[in-house]
Symmetry: D2
Subunit: 285 residues, 4 copies
């Protein structure tokens, strides 16, 4: 039986939208980012800094995550920040650095797009577009992403139900683009000791309802660097198709989210540990 499918009939109290719905016996969709295939038995790791901050920071980190086994690089050029007074990203200069580092390392990259007017520009540079949590229900942006024929990493809104998450993906598929990866990144609850509550049950639920691959982001999901390894292992055990993690060459100096970024040795050790868990559940990484 294919990975992720479920023998027991699933009953949910909502209608799963047509195009994202997994039909009986349907295989998972494979999403291709550069040469990397997402949705197969190999678990894919996306790693890199929260934001592109400088050439040195980006190149150092990219080389290191590649060495550790990451297959896709992440890095924000346009950053959605709660406050207008915080670092908003390097913009197109950041995209240029990402392109350069891809040329050197061979790693394809994913980066966030926040504005319908930027989709064309970002799609010119990036191998995969990210639509962030705060924009999960930004319908014009979803439609633009659906029209641009690049793979899309769609993050779950921090208070979005599974139903709303699937409907948001349907907006993209409905424009003819089925290269969509869903990413759970923590939901907002009453608990405050973690930044968010990482909802790992979203993985089996989504895998049963939709043919789209499902990722976990334990960095945003916990907001705690020391907790990322434990939750990453759990994500692999629960059946995620991949992980998205923040790694920084100097977390203490990061302009953004350093408190939840792994340093390079931590990332390398974690990749070794994840390999064992992957094997235990019949997958590789």
């Amino acid at each position: 039986m294919e990975n992720g499918a479920c023998k027991i009939p699933i009953n949910v109290n909502f209608h799963v939208p047509e195009k994202v719905s997994r039909k009986t016996g349907q295989d998972s969709t494979k999403v291709n980012v550069g040469q990397v295939e997402i949705g197969g038995s190999r678990i894919v790791v996306i790693a890199g800094p929260c934001a592109v901050e400088s050439r040195e920071q980006l190149f150092e980190t990219a080389r290191s995550v590649k060495d550790g086994g990451a297959q896709i690089l992440r890095g924000g050029a346009f950053k959605p920040r709660s406050s207008p007074y915080k670092f908003q990203g390097m913009g197109e200069e950041g995209l240029n650095l990402l392109r350069e580092v891809r040329n050197e390392t061979g790693l394809p990259f994913v980066t966030e797009v926040m504005d319908t007017r930027q989709v064309e520009l970002v799609a010119e540079y990036a191998d995969m577009l990210q639509i962030g949590s705060r924009n999960m229900q930004n319908y014009p942006l979803l439609k633009e992403a659906g029209m641009c024929r690049k793979p899309v990493l769609l993050k779950r809104g921090m208070m979005a139900t599974i139903e709303e998450f699937l409907l948001a993906a349907e907006y993209i598929l409905n424009q003819g683009n089925d290269q969509v990866v869903l990413c759970e990144r923590g939901i907002r609850t009453f608990e405050t000791s973690t930044r968010n509550t990482l909802d790992l049950s979203a993985v089996p639920m989504l895998k049963s309802l939709t043919h789209l691959p499902v990722f976990i982001d334990p960095s945003h999901g916990t907001g705690l660097r020391w907790m990322v390894p434990a939750m990453a292992k759990a994500a692999v055990a629960v059946g995620a198709d991949g992980l998205m993690m923040e790694v920084h060459y100097k977390p203490e100096e990061a302009l953004c989210d350093g408190y939840q970024s792994l340093d390079q040795p931590e990332f390398h050790q974690l990749m070794i540990d994840l390999g064992k868990v992957a094997q235990a559940v019949g997958r590789s990484i």
Copy 2:
């Protein structure tokens, strides 16, 4: 003492951003929508259909809410819908109808803008731009709205804290536009008997922290037509500067949100009842 200020020092566990912050002794900002002043002792009612559906529907409803005492008309031309298969609004044709009905009735109108590319267009027609819950953290949209010099009705995200709500408003003020009205419209909780949980405590909290006027939307806040009058009265009693309510000439036939729309006689009766509560708290409507 001016309405909304608070004698007891407020302690919150976050920093209130500079431009939205109410300084000691500072008056509330007056926001002017057409000839209507928001933020004074008179409570302002915005009413109308969820979406513009037809000339007949819009004109009938507009005349009726004006008769009832509404001072501003609402009506969506571009609609954010969870599902891509639901009615998405009439677009620019809807804006044209709204302009026509303003010419006839004299009611200024507010309508939602969802896309940075539409801000200029919508601002040409509308007297006030609405930024909806799902876009409360759509930062490029907030910036565009801040640059366009029309008053903005900013709705609280269904998962946004008071701090994030104020930071979102700060994005608009930071572009030089201080004509912003904050609107609480229900937050998402575990409770499912109502569509959302209307957080009326947001009114005294926001009134104490910021100089911006604060509205309540009891239609979205409850999702239940029969409950709107009770919550509207509570909103006036708690100190809201205004109300935004959905009214439809035939709620049973509405293309959108009919289950939470008042019919015309209900709206007229409610306005009479609200007048009494307003008087009891030293205001008028």
Copy 3:
């Protein structure tokens, strides 16, 4: 039409349990606490300190809340505290003080019972038993309260749905005791600027589904002394049958919850303001 009933059919996604359910045309149950009737057109105010701390504190506060118009006194003798190291209440000595102060002032009193083994003891002293939020689903305690034939004030659990709240009350009625008052006191949400989120929509919802009277506790509901008056006014406007509020003769010195207790002048002023709102909605206080 009787206060609280609703013309429009209510649809909820659960079964309202038999004995608490309001049948078509059924009047609200009147609950009698000493000589005080709850559930009629007059709004009843329960006021007093969080905990009984001393003779002086209790007598001073009781006299003052009586002067202000409170009809029932509150005061905890057995206190549920999150930490085992905090003041746990005066126990039976506190009950004795409450009895004495009733003899002097004529005010009946409500006090919390936490343990099935104490129900008989507390019922000997008190005019009304309170079952607190943390015990809303303590079924043996609910059954004991149902058997003891004293009126019961049942507080909503901080994360209890309306359905669960009604089922908890059904446990009491099912033992033959229909003298139950429901009290909304704030639910737990993601918002942290208030202690809880006071769910005022629970009032019209409960009034429509059940014949039991419904109270609001704005002290616990907000956790903020300065916000109590605004929310109390809203509670009256929304249709609550009564209010429960913490008042202390020296809030700054209270052993428990002083930060949410009104002082005596604040309480007196509030009662005057509430009278106006009550009149505006056709009731008295």
Copy 4:
């Protein structure tokens, strides 16, 4: 380094209470239930029916979970049910059956106690007392459990923060009983596709803050039989010291929670799969 400890300093926004707090370098507490040690490198599985329903049901299920590798039996004799009209458990007759089945199988058992008046009785029969979610803040019950010198399985309230959970455990330790196991069983959030949201991040958080062992209950945590295996694997990967799972010999006929109970073949297969994950993280089961 001992399992569960954390190299990076943990910052939480609350004070960890004295007796449950893990001091620097402190080992995990070992909790002994019959001959079974909890808190070591071997992961302990507690399995059995939600409620004791009959001799046949209990004996069949107990033999089967023992064969599968469970070390402790679970089964409720006194059941906390939301509705007074649902099966409330077999009471002392259920306790007698549990004692008999222990005599036959050698499996020690845990069963819930809900009432201070029952603690002595239940402690006479059971090897471990369970305090359920709804009673996590039933302080008299916590104190009684603290005085009775039997190990206690304390389940997290569905609305309880990590801080409140630790404070509840402190009530037990403060009476001199340190044989306490903490069990995360799902918290209440806005998401409704699962019964609760299983908060696996509670495991590393609790393991870092306290020396007490930490269990996961994926049955209540998801409310979905088909999802239990995936979440159980994740629980082992994240570092839980044990699992508590509902198993029934005929889930379709269960009087209680059948929809979340594994049948016997599912349980046996799961135990094999869990063994592989345990090995991958350096533990056994």
